[in-house]
């Protein structure tokens, strides 16, 4: 038996490295090509001009003002969307669990609904709504945060709901209420610290989604990072590829951090149920 297991482990290792190498090549090639493309100088030389310009913010803003606007907008949107999503979702989901369990299915349905409505479809319906938003709040790109909050609802809901399932919210809430805490205190100081990793992962997903969003911003004529990259592609291909690569690498670092921080999610073997 031991021999069989050892042989299988060896076979699996061979299979694993073959697959990872083959697919890894397919996936890394475009990224390496991007690097080569951005460092291509005249007559086969290597130049770092593009990257030097990219890290020099002042100069970059002067050369490509649209790009700077897009980046600033995207960072503003990230902050606003994370804040709005958590503010809207955490208290609601906790409240529904504690006091209105009958509404749980409805809230879940509403939160998962955006998965069945493609962004391109949503934008068709959002156009008239945004006419009103512009009327009340002005046409700033930051108003996109409302649409983005809808887009991240499914992902944020899932991770927050999973976090709440892992703790005994009811007992915690009743205990704190009986000690005289207000509902705000319960959510802020009792429930929230207990679902910290779930909230964090919801926030990370929001960040990734907002930084990568193009459809809605582009069709509502507002600028963000991706719209700026796309626009840049028409004037300076090298720079747009460099910004694309930077964005991908940054997102990867972000998710790596998440997988290290989110190590709090216990990966035990699945429960023996039924």
């Amino acid at each position: 038996m031991a021999g069989v297991i050892k042989r299988r482990a060896r076979r699996q290792r061979a299979f694993r490295w073959t697959i990872v190498t083959l697919l890894g090549t397919f996936f890394l090639l475009p990224l390496l090509a991007m690097l080569e493309f951005t460092t291509r100088g005249p007559n086969g030389t290597i130049t770092l001009d593009t990257w030097k310009l990219l890290v020099d913010w002042g100069q970059l803003g002067e050369t490509y003002p649209d790009l700077l606007t897009g980046v600033t907008n995207s960072f503003g949107l990230v902050l606003l969307t994370v804040a709005l999503t958590l503010l809207l979702l955490v208290p609601t989901v906790v409240w529904v669990r504690l006091r209105l369990p009958r509404l749980r299915r409805l809230v879940e349905f509403l939160c998962l609904l955006p998965l069945t409505i493609p962004a391109i479809v949503l934008v068709v319906g959002l156009a008239p709504v945004y006419a009103w938003v512009t009327y009340f709040l002005g046409g700033s790109a930051l108003t996109l945060t409302f649409a983005y909050t809808i887009l991240v609802l499914p992902y944020a809901y899932r991770s927050i709901d999973a976090g709440l399932s892992a703790i005994d919210v009811r007992t915690l809430a009743e205990a704190s209420r009986s000690l005289g805490a207000s509902w705000a205190t319960v959510i802020w100081r009792v429930v929230l610290p207990n679902i910290r990793s779930a909230v964090l992962s919801a926030a990370f997903l929001t960040v990734a989604l907002v930084l990568g969003e193009f459809t809605i911003a582009s069709l509502l004529n507002r600028s963000n990072l991706q719209v700026a990259i796309n626009l840049l592609g028409k004037s300076s291909a090298t720079m747009s590829v460099a910004v694309s690569l930077t964005a991908l690498v940054l997102a990867f670092v972000l998710l790596m951090l998440l997988s290290l921080v989110g190590g709090g999610r216990r990966r035990t073997s699945p429960k023996e149920t039924r």
Partner: protein, 309 residues
Amino acid sequence: MTVVTPHPDPVAPAPGVRPAPADRRRSGLPGRDLLGVVPFFAFVVVFLAIPTLVVVIGAFTGDDGGFTLDNLSAVGTSYILEAFGRSILLSAVTAAIGAVLGALLAYALVTAKPDGVLRRVVTSAAGVLAQFGGVTLAFAFMATIGLSGFATLFLRDHLGIDIFSHGVWLFELPGLLLVYTYFQVPLMVIVFLPALDGIRPQWREAAESLGGSTWQYWRLVAMPLLAPPFLGATLLLFANAFSAYATAAALVSQGSPIIPLQIRGALTSEVILGQQNLGKAMALGMIVVVALVMWLYAVLQRRSSRWLG
């Protein structure tokens, strides 16, 4: 679990004090509690329900504001139907390729250490490429096999192969197939890993102790168990490709081979007013397709959750 004790309960209500009902939820929905969910519902109504209704109602509204089926019959015209067909073909092909390759990669990861570096790196990279791609992936491929891309020049200068001898296919449907596959595989890895994690080594040992071969184990145990989650994940990939817009928009600037680009055309064209509602009719068609696929996906999810614990 209550333990009956002979002692008087120290927190029992004093005689004459009506105990608060333990479960007020049973007595209908108290109005005050409902106030807590008003902000959420108001937000969802304004930014999700109304846009959806705008699309649905607009699909049946004519230029004069009255009810009409013209938009829907216009969707039946040849060029829109062809775009739908191409969209469905593109989504189906990339979903199938992505599902097979992604499943292989996911299996390779499952056999690795669960907290190892390989698994962490690959899942993070998969997360980025699956969710984040969009415009950046279009540029990645332009840098790779664009007209002056790295691979294009390499093949031309070193091997004498001109990959664009039959036209620049990167900016047409074949190019979309390639780039879509590039983000479908990572998505498959993400959605299929949990199902593979649910397969327990004990089952294989049990099969072996009963004298089953490896092939028999896969054919009779693992495959039937993995079929529903595999099909479900494939459906999810289909919906993902069908709804994708950014990559195509950045790659294809001339013509509208697929339906999301047709909708872009309807939204941005200032030709005739009726175009707006035609766009809504196309959008409704997209909702119908995606909703159908997601419903099937939910059915399959229920099937596989029986043993995924």
